[in-house]
């Protein structure tokens, strides 16, 4: 690079630091991926060598991060139009679009190949499908086309526990499908509760959000509908081999609270919501954060009790 080329770069420095590349991998999303994949791996009935387990979780995280980088590459145009995303590495000018694409593709291939070598082909195939689903089906195709984009995007985020389970068992089972369904059904009420009390600028960017396309009342209805589906999945998961009394008590309490919260949100008008600064919507969003963490945490508790003859349904 010559001095002349430095002068023509878009940013003040024209050079990305390591942190900028790391931000490209969406670290916050990666933390959810790591946690749920780890639970999927640890609750499986087959033990895994700790180094193989650690490496597998890392490769799943890298695969998730790589799909985040490809998402930022494709969505760079709309990220420049929204306040929330203006500080991301590409819109802020720290990382070039081509660089993000190259990093995303390279890490995707590397993560899938390495997971296949470290664990098994099923886990690698699931990771490859997750990346494909998030980047092609969600980001490139459906995100800008349907207000159900959150539901579809949620599916991509729901795969990691299935991959973790596949690392240990080499297959798919009712337990791993229900763990997928738990995150899948949780995502819409979680995100739409947030959408009800934040003023996103998705409309400016041409992304159809349910609150804009179908209105806030329809969004409240959808939240309640998905909450019932979520409760059914959460209880069903408790009846499988990874559930048990501890999980079931936690699930019953949390789902009762979540249904109550969704019901309150469903019954309110926008005027009620404005009057108390969206108290019920904020409450439901906060509860949703604890909800997912505690459900997966309860599965871990059940698994950790099993060596002592406790945990599970005996």
């Amino acid at each position: 690079m010559t001095d002349a080329s430095i002068q023509t770069t878009k940013t003040e420095t024209g050079e990305a630091g390591f942190g900028d590349y790391f931000a490209l991998l969406k670290p916050r999303v990666m933390s959810l991926v790591v946690f749920t994949a780890l639970v999927g791996l640890l609750v499986a009935p087959v033990g895994v060598n700790p180094i193989v387990g650690l490496a597998s979780i890392l490769f799943i995280a890298v695969g998730g991060g790589a799909s985040g980088a490809l998402n930022m590459w494709w969505d760079a145009d709309i990220d420049r139009k929204m306040k929330r995303t203006l500080t991301r590495p590409i819109p802020s000018g720290k990382v070039e679009e081509g660089e993000a694409f190259a990093i995303g593709i390279t890490l995707s291939v590397m993560a899938v190949v390495m997971l296949g070598l470290a664990a098994n082909l099923m886990a690698a195939a699931l990771l490859a499908f997750t990346i494909f689903f998030y980047v092609v089906i969600y980001t490139m195709w459906l995100k800008r086309w349907t207000p159900q984009n959150i539901v579809i995007g949620g599916a991509a985020g729901a795969f990691p526990p299935m991959i973790g389970w596949a690392v240990a068992t080499g297959g798919i089972s009712i337990e791993s499908v229900l763990m997928f369904a738990l995150t899948f059904a949780w995502t819409p009420p979680h995100f739409w509760a947030l959408a009800l009390f934040t003023k996103g600028d998705y409309a400016n960017a041409g992304v159809p959000m349910l609150t804009v396309t179908h209105g806030r009342k329809a969004t409240r209805n959808h939240i309640l509908g998905y909450t019932f589906a979520l409760a059914a999945v959460a209880i069903a998961l408790g009846l499988t081999s990874v559930g048990g009394p501890t999980y079931m008590v936690i699930a019953l309490v949390l789902n009762a609270m979540f249904i109550k919260g969704a019901w309150d949100v469903f019954r309110r008008t926008d005027a009620d919501s404005e009057a108390d600064s969206h108290k019920a919507e904020r409450g439901l969003f906060k509860l949703s954060l604890a909800y997912l963490f505690l459900h997966y945490g309860a599965l871990l508790v059940e698994a950790s009790l099993k060596p002592f003859g406790l945990g599970g349904w005996g």
Binding site: I6, A16, F18, G19, N49, I51, A55
Partner: protein, 53 residues
């Protein structure tokens, strides 16, 4: 423009080099650990006895 010996750009480049270096060292260590774990699994007594049968 005042030419500084240490520009912000150099700091970013340095952080990138150090970060990438650490990632590569970590990756090598991980592959080494994986190799030891995988080879170790092949030579466990159970696996050895199964293989001999």
């Amino acid at each position: 423009m005042v030419i500084k010996a240490e520009h912000e750009m150099h700091k970013r480049r340095f952080s990138r080099n150090i970060g990438l270096g650490l990632v590569l060292v970590g990756f090598v260590a991980l592959v080494y650990g994986l190799t030891v774990a995988k080879v170790g699994e092949l030579y466990q007594p159970e696996a050895a006895s199964e293989a001999s049968q």
